[in-house]
């Protein structure tokens, strides 16, 4: 029965998607809605720029992480040396 449920969910999602797209069909010709569409287009560009910055921050963070790991390994080696000395 869970398979059948999954199947129904899958079909319902597709129907929902079509309804969604149908509602879009006429919206572009009404000036007010056209403005909203253009605003959404602009927002998408802005959000993509923010995500680009976020991606470079995360890349920098990953590099810092690697440096921290190297430092940690060398510290642990020093500790082993001091332990050996003792």
């Amino acid at each position: 029965s869970s398979d059948l449920e999954q199947l129904c969910t899958y079909i319902n999602e597709k129907i929902g998607n079509i309804k969604h797209t149908l509602s879009l069909r006429n919206c572009g010709h009404k000036p007010a809605l056209k403005t909203i569409l253009n605003k959404i287009g602009d927002e998408i560009i802005v959000v993509n720029e923010i995500l680009n910055k976020l991606e470079s921050e995360i890349e920098y963070q990953e590099q810092t992480n690697n440096s921290l790991k190297e430092l940690c390994e060398s510290l642990e080696e020093d500790y082993r040396d001091v332990q050996h000395l003792k």
């Binding site: 969604h20 572009g28 287009g41 993509n48 992480n65 642990e76 020093d78 000395l85």
Partner: protein, 115 residues
């Protein structure tokens, strides 16, 4: 019974492909009614771009969480190891009566910060 199940399966497959076809034709019609010459994106393209940036944001969020968690773990390992090393150095100093050079201000500040 087997035949019934097969029949049902075929019906679902047909419904699935019919839905795909409807969606494709709908999107095609909308794209056609938006000549790209106007420079404006049609709603279908916007919808697809919206879902693309949502999944991109989710992916970056997951990546950020994992790198932050990793960093936290490494930092605490560094603090623990530094503390253990310094303690052992002091013990060694006592054992050997060795006079180590006094810490610079910078080193003292660094130790406080890490603590």
């Amino acid at each position: 019974m087997e035949a019934e199940v097969d029949k049902l399966e075929l019906m679902f497959q047909k419904a699935d492909s019919d839905l795909d076809c409807i969606l494709y034709r709908l999107e095609y019609e909308i794209k056609n009614s938006y000549p790209d010459s106007t420079g404006e994106k049609n709603p279908v393209t916007l919808l697809k771009e919206l879902s693309a940036i949502k999944s991109r944001y989710q992916a970056l969020h997951t990546r950020f969480e994992s790198v932050t968690a990793g960093q936290k773990d490494t930092k605490s390992r560094i603090c623990v190891t530094l503390t253990k090393t310094m303690t052992m150095m002091q013990e060694l100093q006592k054992l050997t009566d060795l006079e180590l050079s006094p810490w610079t201000e910078e080193e003292k500040t660094a130790e406080d910060q890490l603590k």
